[in-house]
């Protein structure tokens, strides 16, 4: 009988609270969007599944050993943990969790050892998160793989499209200001770290967003990643109205001239140029852009095809699986079911909109000076969201003129946007982490 009670007390239904139930549905919704609607499935399938796993009541898969010990609720366990943390024995579980989170690293290590002595272990997803994201390695490895998949040819054929990739990052910083504004006006309480991490959603680049959020605002990582990937999938809905509103029919019909052929050597030298510029000007962007350039150099140099292949396939796939599950582990009820998440979702879509608009307007502005006119529709591709945004540019261009293939031309600003948001990530980390 005692065992039956134990099984019942160990069962999920016994522990289920409303929040976890809602989060299980959120996980299923993400899976539905990914599988049925094709929303960035490579990331949202693992994230959605991870969200379900993280919210299995009583399993504690996303908790550390200490949090699992606290969650057990046994008074003698709580008392021992409290003693190590220097908290009051009857402080309550929430207070102990807070005390643990803010304790110095040495105290956390002591508490961890005590928890393992008491038989508690880190949850599976917590371990994945620590290795994949806590260490920062997974977004960097994915960035390396993305670099190995990126062809800078269209950018090199027309380098001034880099300006479009720069302009579209204005969405990032406008959103920072928006988040700060919400906080100042008392609507939602965001710190400057939170604001910077939310802004990076406007970079429309998944690994960059995860990397920045894991450093500046790990609590918000789940919501930020979900927003970033969802809006990247929604780019075909978000961007066209803005693009049409800011251009007239003549502008949309502009035909761009055939691109010049880019030589192999230019492609080999470009990642090195970019790397040296990063080294000299913005070292804080070195991890992200360094790995990106490394992947691209492996791709273009032509002598390490084995390594390039692996970084585009086995390595990026393995990393994606664990990155996705780890992000999902941050979709716990108490973090995600919070007004902040609504704020993040609202600010994120504004960021995409502003980025799109700035890209288009900057293209029109450049046409005032340049001899070779740019079709402003390719400006919107500067937000990144590779390669979706470039396809959107192409599609809207074809609507205006069925002969006007913009895809190649839009790839320039598209990959420029990746560089732009990585630069923005570097500068934000540099400024914010020292405030």
């Amino acid at each position: 009988m005692q065992n039956f009670l134990r099984l019942w007390h160990d069962s999920g239904i016994y522990h289920l609270d409303l929040g976890q139930g809602v989060m299980l549905l959120v996980g299923l919704l993400l899976l539905f969007l990914a599988i049925r609607k094709g929303f960035e499935p490579l990331l949202l399938v693992p994230i959605g599944f991870g969200a379900i796993l993280a919210n299995i009541p009583g399993a504690g898969l996303s908790l550390s050993a200490v949090e699992n010990a606290i969650a057990s609720g046994y008074p003698d366990v709580l008392a021992q943990i409290a003693q190590v943390l220097g908290a009051s024995a009857d402080a309550g579980m929430q207070a102990l969790n807070d005390a643990y989170k803010h304790a110095p690293a040495a105290v956390q290590a002591d508490a961890y050892r005590l928890a393992t002595d008491l038989g508690y272990a880190n949850g599976m997803l917590y371990s994945f998160y620590t290795v994949a994201i806590g260490s920062g390695v997974a977004p960097l490895v994915i960035f390396m793989g993305v670099g190995a998949m990126t062809d800078f040819g269209p950018l090199l054929a027309n380098p001034k499209t880099l300006f479009l990739g720069a302009a579209a990052q204005f969405g990032i910083f406008a959103t920072v200001l928006g988040a700060v504004g919400l906080s100042v006006t008392g609507v939602i309480d965001f710190s400057i770290q939170d604001a910077a991490a939310i802004g990076i959603i406007g970079g429309a680049d998944g690994p960059t967003a995860i990397y920045v959020a894991s450093i500046l605002a790990p609590e918000l990582l789940g919501a930020i990643a979900v927003a970033a990937y969802s809006y990247m999938a929604l780019v075909p809905l978000i961007q066209p109205p803005i693009m049409r509103a800011l251009t007239n029919d003549d502008e949309r019909k502009i035909r761009m001239e055939q691109m010049r052929v880019v030589s192999k050597r230019e492609k080999i030298v470009f990642p090195l140029i970019l790397l040296i510029l990063v080294a000299l000007i913005l070292p804080s962007a070195a991890p992200l852009l360094g790995m990106f350039c490394f992947g691209n150099l492996m791709r273009e140099c032509g002598v390490v095809e084995r390594l390039s292949d692996t970084s585009q396939n086995a390595l990026i796939n393995i990393t994606t699986i664990f990155l996705g599950l780890s992000v999902g582990s941050k979709l716990a009820a108490d973090k995600f079911l919070d007004p902040k998440t609504l704020g993040i979702l609202a600010l994120g879509i504004i960021a995409f909109g502003i980025g799109t608009a700035m890209g288009v307007l900057t293209a029109k502005f450049m046409n005032l000076f340049c001899k070779h006119k740019i079709n402003p529709l390719i400006g919107s591709a500067g937000v990144s969201a590779v390669p979706m945004a470039a396809r959107v540019s192409n599609k809207v261009g074809l609507e205006a003129n069925p002969q006007n293939y913009l895809l190649m031309h839009a790839m320039g600003p598209n990959v420029a946007g990746v560089i732009g948001s990585a630069v923005a990530a570097g500068v934000m980390i540099s400024i914010v982490s020292s405030l």
Partner: protein, 82 residues
């Protein structure tokens, strides 16, 4: 305190966006110089392929050389047998 937060946000915007613009402008300049330099002094021995679609989201589209040679052999064999 709240003034400070606003100020921090504005600072972040000005210096952040400024850095992005300056960095990418320098990159445009450096790229143009590099391209001119490479094209002039180190042109590719043969003309390179036209620029491919920028990011391949799936597996590399090229067929493995081993596969291609197998196909060619298979067809040669097939032709020889006729």
């Amino acid at each position: 305190m709240q003034d400070t937060l606003m100020q921090q946000g504005i600072d972040l915007m000005i210096y952040g966006m400024g850095t992005v613009l300056v960095f990418l402008t320098l990159l445009v300049i450096a790229t143009l110089i590099m391209s001119r330099f490479v094209m002039r002094f180190f042109p590719d021995p043969v003309v390179a392929e036209p620029s491919r679609p920028a990011i391949q989201t799936g597996r590399t589209a090229e067929v493995d050389p081993a596969v291609r040679s197998a196909i060619e052999k298979a067809i040669a064999l097939h032709r020889a047998r006729r």
